[in-house]
C-alpha cells in the first residue's frame, strides 16, 4: 500500500560546513602545533622505553596505588611503548581530522553482475575450452581422471596414520593391581589406615617398583583419592562395602565426565565436587552423581591392608577410569 504513496524525497547531501581550521589561519596553526605535540609525546615514549630497558633493574619493585607492588622495569617498558605507539596514532588522526581536506566525496557503484555480452562470451569460451580438451568425447579419460582424483586424497590421510599408536585396550588399564601399595602424592610414602583420621583425605598413587619413573600418563589414570568417614555413614551395597577398609574408601580422582581432577571433598556433606564442570558425587553412596553433567560414578578401587598393615589395592579398577569413549563397556 505504501507503494502507491509518495515517499519523502531525498534532500540530497547536506551542504559542506567549513571547519574552524579551514577559515581561521590561527586555528590551523594551533592544530598544527597540537599534532606536533602529539608526535613529540610519542618520541618521549620511545625515550622512556629505552631508559626502562637499559636503566631500570629487571627486578626492581615499586609500590603504586591500585596496582600494589609492581615490577618497575616491565611497567615503564610497557608505558613507554604504549606512549610511543599511541601518540603517533593520535597525531595522525588529529592531523587528518583538522588539517586534511574534509570534503566528502561521492563515488558511484556499478552492479557486480557482468554484462550479458560478457557472460555470453564467458560461456562460449568455457564451452570452447571444454570441447578442445575433448572431455565430453572421451569418456574413458573423464572416468579414470575422476577415479584418480578421488583416490589421491587417500595418501595424505594415510600418512597421518603414524601420528600415534592404536589405543588397543590401553584406556581400560591403570597401574593398579592386587597387592600394590597406596603411596602419598607427592612424597611416595605408604599409608596405614591409622594415618588417616575420620574426615581426612589423602591423594595417592600406586607404589612403583624402584627405578620405574612415574610419568604424567600414569598420573592421568592412576590418581586416587582416599577418604575416611565413619563406617556407619556408608550407604553401600555389601560388595562395595567390602571394597572399603575401616571407613576408608578409594575413588579414581579422574572425573568420569571430562577427566579433571575431582578432589573438592566436603567433610560435612561427604560430597565430592569437580571444579571444572561442577559434577557432584556422593562419597557415601559409591560416588553416585547427585548434580552436574557427569553421567557415571567415579570408579571405586578395592582396598585392604597387607601383612605389614599398609593400605594396598586388592584388585585393579573393575572399569575404565576417566571420560567415556566408544569402546567403553559401561553397562
Amino acid at each position: 500500500m505504501s507503494k502507491e504513496l509518495t515517499p519523502i524525497a531525498d534532500p540530497g547531501l547536506p551542504e559542506h560546513q567549513h571547519r574552524k581550521t579551514d577559515v581561521d589561519p590561527r586555528a590551523a596553526k594551533k592544530a598544527e602545533r597540537q599534532v606536533a605535540i602529539l608526535f613529540s609525546l610519542s618520541a618521549l615514549g620511545t625515550v622512556l622505553f629505552v631508559y626502562a630497558y637499559v636503566g631500570i633493574d629487571q627486578d626492581l619493585l615499586i609500590f603504586l596505588p591500585i596496582l600494589g607492588n609492581t615490577n618497575a622495569h616491565q611497567l615503564f617498558l610497557g608505558l613507554g611503548l604504549a606512549m610511543a605507539l599511541f601518540f603517533i596514532g593520535m597525531g595522525a588522526v588529529h592531523w587528518a581530522k583538522t588539517l586534511m581536506p574534509d570534503h566528502e566525496v561521492v563515488d558511484y557503484r556499478k552492479e557486480q553482475r557482468s554484462t550479458d555480452e560478457d557472460r555470453a562470451a564467458f560461456v562460449e569460451a568455457a564451452k570452447e575450452g571444454a570441447a578442445a580438451a575433448g572431455i565430453g568425447r572421451r569418456p574413458v579419460i573423464k572416468r579414470t581422471l575422476g577415479l584418480a582424483l578421488g583416490l589421491v586424497g587417500i595418501s595424505p590421510i594415510l600418512l597421518l596414520r603414524d601420528l600415534g599408536p592404536l589405543p588397543e585396550d590401553e584406556l581400560e588399564k591403570t597401574n593398579w593391581a592386587a597387592g600394590v601399595r597406596l603411596v602419598t602424592d607427592p612424597g611416595d610414602r605408604p599409608i596405614k589406615p591409622s594415618d588417616l583420621e575420620v574426615g581426612g583425605v589423602a591423594q595417592v598413587q600406586p607404589a612403583f617398583p624402584a627405578g620405574k619413573k612415574r610419568k604424567l600418563e600414569d598420573i592421568a589414570k592412576d590418581s586416587v583419592l582416599l577418604i575416611r568417614v565413619r563406617p556407619e555413614e556408608f550407604n553401600l551395597d555389601p560388595e562395595r562395602l567390602s571394597w572399603t577398609h575401616e571407613g576408608i574408601i578409594a575413588f579414581s580422582k579422574i572425573c568420569s565426565h571430562m577427566g579433571c581432577a575431582v578432589a573438592l571433598y566436603e567433610q560435612t556433606t561427604k560430597h565430592l565436587l569437580c571444579p571444572c564442570h561442577q559434577s557432584t558425587f556422593d562419597v557415601t553412596r559409591a560416588a553416585k552423581v547427585i548434580f552436574g553433567p557427569a553421567a557415571r560414578p567415579l570408579p571405586q578401587l578395592q582396598i585392604g591392608v597387607d601383612n605389614e598393615g599398609y593400605l594396598i589395592a586388592k584388585a585393579p579398577f573393575n572399569e575404565a577410569v576417566g571420560p567415556s569413549f566408544w569402546e567403553r563397556d559401561s553397562a
Binding site: 505504501s2 596514532g89 587528518a96 586534511m100 566525496v105 600415534g164 604424567l216 552436574g292 567403553r328
Partner: protein, 530 residues
C-alpha cells in the same frame, strides 16, 4: 620541479614501466571509504592480528615447544627446582629473564582477547545492519570461518605454556575428542601420539598455532579485504546516500592517515594493557600434571560459552551393546556449536529465501527496520550470554553470595526460556521504535513548550522535522510479504507444499512492519490542522 619530485618521479616511472601500476593506482588512491565508528571494529580485528603476528614472532625466539621434562633453575623462586616441561620453563624464562618478554607475552594475550572481542563486535554490526546481504554473502561466510578459526587458534595459543590451567583445558579437549562415536579413542591416540598427555602434543599444536592457522588467517583476511575493496564498502542511509553511490573520504590522504593512525592507537592501547594489567600469570598456576586442579578453572572468554554449555548439560550417556555414547559431552561440545556456526554461515541465504529478496544491497538497515532479524540476533546473543555466564558460575557464586547449584539451574532454565522471550520483546521494541519514528515524521518533535490557545486550551508545540531527518526516518523500503497461494488457479493444492507454507509464514513474520509515513499522509494531516 624540485629534486624530491624528480626522485619520486624516477621511482614511480621505474615501477610503472614494469608493472603498469599507475593505471590501477590512479583510480584506487581516490577510492572512497564511508566514515562511521562501527566500521572501525573490523579494523581493530585486522590491527590486533598484526600485533599478534609481531608479538608472537618475538615470543618464538625463546619459546621451546617441547614436553621434555626439565628442572626449573630460573629466577622465579617459588618454582625453583620443580620438574616441568621445557615449554613451561621457557615461558617462565620469557616472563622473568628476557627483558620485555613479559610485556610481549601480555601484549600477545591481550591482543588475542581483543582480536576475538572485536571480531564478535564486528560480526554483530554486520548482522544487525544487514551488511551480509547480496553481494556480500561470501564475505560473511569467510568471516564466520575466521571466527571459528580464531577460537581454535586462541585455545591452542593459551595451551602452549603447558601450565596447570591450560593443561586442564587440553584434558577437556581430549575428552571431547575421545567422546566422538566410533573413532573417538583412535582420534585421541593419534592427536596425542598415545595416552594423554604424552610428549608430542605441545610441539604439534605449536606448528598449527604459529604456521598453519596464521597462514590460513592471512589468506582468508586477504580475501575478505579484497572483497571489501572490490565491492566497495556499505554505508548507512542518509540524505544523498543511495544504493548507487558511496559517500565518504578518499583513501589518500584522509582515510590512510586515519586508518594508519588507528593502527598505532590500537597497538598503543594494547601495549598499555600489557603494561598495567596482568594476564595469564602462568607462574602462579604451576606446571601441568593431570592429578592437580585449581578451583575456578575457566577457559578464555571466547571459549567460556562452550564451557558453560558443557557445565549445564544433563548427565546423559547411552550404554548399549558394550558401547558408550556421551551425550553430555557431544551435545554441548560438538552438536550445539556445530548448529550455531553452520546456522550463522547459512543465515544470509536463509534470509534471502525467507524474504524472496535477491537484489543487491549497499545501504545498511537501521536495526529497528528489520524487527525479525534484530530479534533473531538478540535471541542468539542471549543464548550465548546465558551460556557464558554459566561458564563463570563458580566465580559468580563466590563474588555475589550465590550457590553454583542455583546458577546452574537458573541458566539451565534460562537458556531455554530466555531466548524466545528476548525474541518477542526485541521484536515489540523494534515495532514501537518504528511507531515512534512514524509519529515523529507525522507530528514533528515535541518541544516541551506549552502554549495556551485563545479559547483556553493548552497544546504542546510540535516542531516539524528537518527534511534530512524526515528522509532518514522514511528512506527504508518495506517489502510486502511473499504471497504463496494455498491452491493454484486450477484448485490443486499448492505444489510447493509444506515448504512453501513455511516460507510464506516466515516471510510474513519477517515483513511485519509499521507502515512508514508518506508525503500524502503528512499533507493530509497538515490540511486537517488548518
Amino acid at each position: 620541479m624540485s629534486a624530491r619530485e624528480r626522485v619520486a618521479g624516477t621511482v614511480a616511472n621505474y615501477v610503472d614501466e614494469r608493472t603498469g601500476a599507475a593505471k590501477w593506482l590512479k583510480k584506487n588512491l581516490k577510492k572512497v571509504f564511508p566514515d562511521h565508528w562501527s566500521f572501525m571494529l573490523g579494523e581493530v580485528v585486522l590491527y590486533s592480528f598484526i600485533i599478534l603476528l609481531l608479538s608472537g614472532t618475538f615470543l618464538t625466539f625463546w619459546f621451546d615447544p617441547s614436553m621434555r621434562e626439565v628442572e626449573y633453575e630460573g629466577s622465579y623462586e617459588p618454582l625453583e627446582g620443580l620438574k616441568m616441561s621445557a615449554a613451561y620453563a621457557s615461558t617462565l624464562h620469557i616472563s622473568f629473564d628476557v627483558r620485555g618478554g613479559l610485556l610481549m607475552r601480555q601484549i600477545h594475550h591481550w591482543a588475542a582477547l581483543i582480536f576475538m572481542a572485536a571480531m564478535v563486535a564486528h560480526l554483530l554490526r554486520v548482522f544487525f545492519t544487514g551488511a551480509f546481504r547480496k553481494p556480500r554473502e561470501m564475505n560473511w561466510v569467510i568471516g564466520v570461518g575466521l571466527l571459528t578459526l580464531g577460537i581454535v587458534e586462541g585455545f591452542l595459543g593459551y595451551s602452549l605454556p603447558d601450565d596447570l590451567l591450560s593443561g586442564t583445558g587440553i584434558r577437556i579437549a581430549e575428552a571431547i575428542i575421545q567422546a566422538v562415536p566410533v573413532v573417538g579413542s583412535y582420534l585421541a591416540y593419534f592427536v596425542f601420539g598415545g595416552a594423554f598427555p604424552g610428549e608430542v602434543f605441545i610441539p604439534r599444536i605449536y606448528t598449527v598455532h604459529v604456521l598453519l592457522i596464521p597462514g590460513i588467517f592471512l589468506a582468508l583476511i586477504t580475501a575478505h579485504l579484497m572483497l571489501v575493496w572490490y565491492q566497495k564498502h556499505t554505508q548507512y542511509p542518509g540524505p544523498g546516500r543511495t544504493e548507487k553511490n558511496v559517500v565518504g573520504y578518499p583513501l589518500l590522504p584522509v582515510y590512510m592517515a586515519k586508518a594508519g593512525g588507528f593502527f598505532f592507537i590500537v597497538f598503543g592501547v594494547t601495549a598499555f594493557l600489557g603494561a598495567v594489567a596482568s594476564i595469564n600469570p602462568v607462574w602462579l598456576f604451576g606446571p601441568y600434571t593431570p592429578g592437580q586442579i585449581s578451583a575456578g578453572s575457566q577457559p578464555d572468554w571466547y571459549m567460556g560459552w562452550l564451557d558453560g554449555l558443557v557445565r549445564m548439560a544433563p548427565p546423559l550417556e547411552t550404554h548399549a551393546f558394550g558401547h558408550t555414547i556421551s551425550w553430555n559431552i557431544l551435545i554441548p561440545g560438538l552438536i550445539i556449536p556445530g548448529i550455531i556456526f553452520t546456522g550463522m554461515a547459512l543465515y544470509p541465504f536463509i534470509e534471502s529465501w525467507m524474504t524472496g529478496d535477491k537484489r543487491e544491497h549497499h545501504l545498511l538497515d537501521r536495526p529497528r527496520n528489520n524487527p525479525n532479524r534484530t530479534a533473531l540476533g538478540a535471541m542468539s546473543l542471549t543464548f550465548m550470554l546465558v551460556a557464558l555466564i554459566n561458564g563463570g558460575n563458580d566465580l559468580i557464586a563466590t563474588h555475589f553470595d550465590l550457590s553454583i547449584n542455583q546458577i546452574m539451574w537458573g541458566t539451565r532454565i534460562g537458556i531455554i526460556v530466555l531466548p524466545p522471550l528476548v525474541f518477542v520483546i526485541t521484536k515489540r521494541i523494534c515495532l514501537s521504535l518504528q511507531r515512534a519514528d512514524r509519529d515523529l515524521v507525522l507530528h514533528g518533535r515535541e518541544t516541551g513548550r506549552l502554549v495556551m490557545l485563545p479559547h483556553g486550551e493548552f497544546i504542546e508545540v510540535h516542531e516539524p522535522l528537518t527534511p534530512e531527518r524526515a528522509y532518514l526516518l522514511t528512506q527504508h523500503e518495506q517489502l510486502p510479504a511473499l504471497a504463496v497461494p494455498e491452491t493454484d488457479e486450477m484448485g490443486v493444492a499448492n505444489p510447493q507444499g509444506a515448504r512453501g507454507k513455511l516460507r510464506a509464514r516466515l516471510s510474513r513474520a519477517s515483513q511485519e512492519q509499521i507502515p512508514k509515513p508518506s508525503v500524502d499522509e503528512i499533507r493530509e494531516l497538515e490540511s486537517g490542522h488548518h
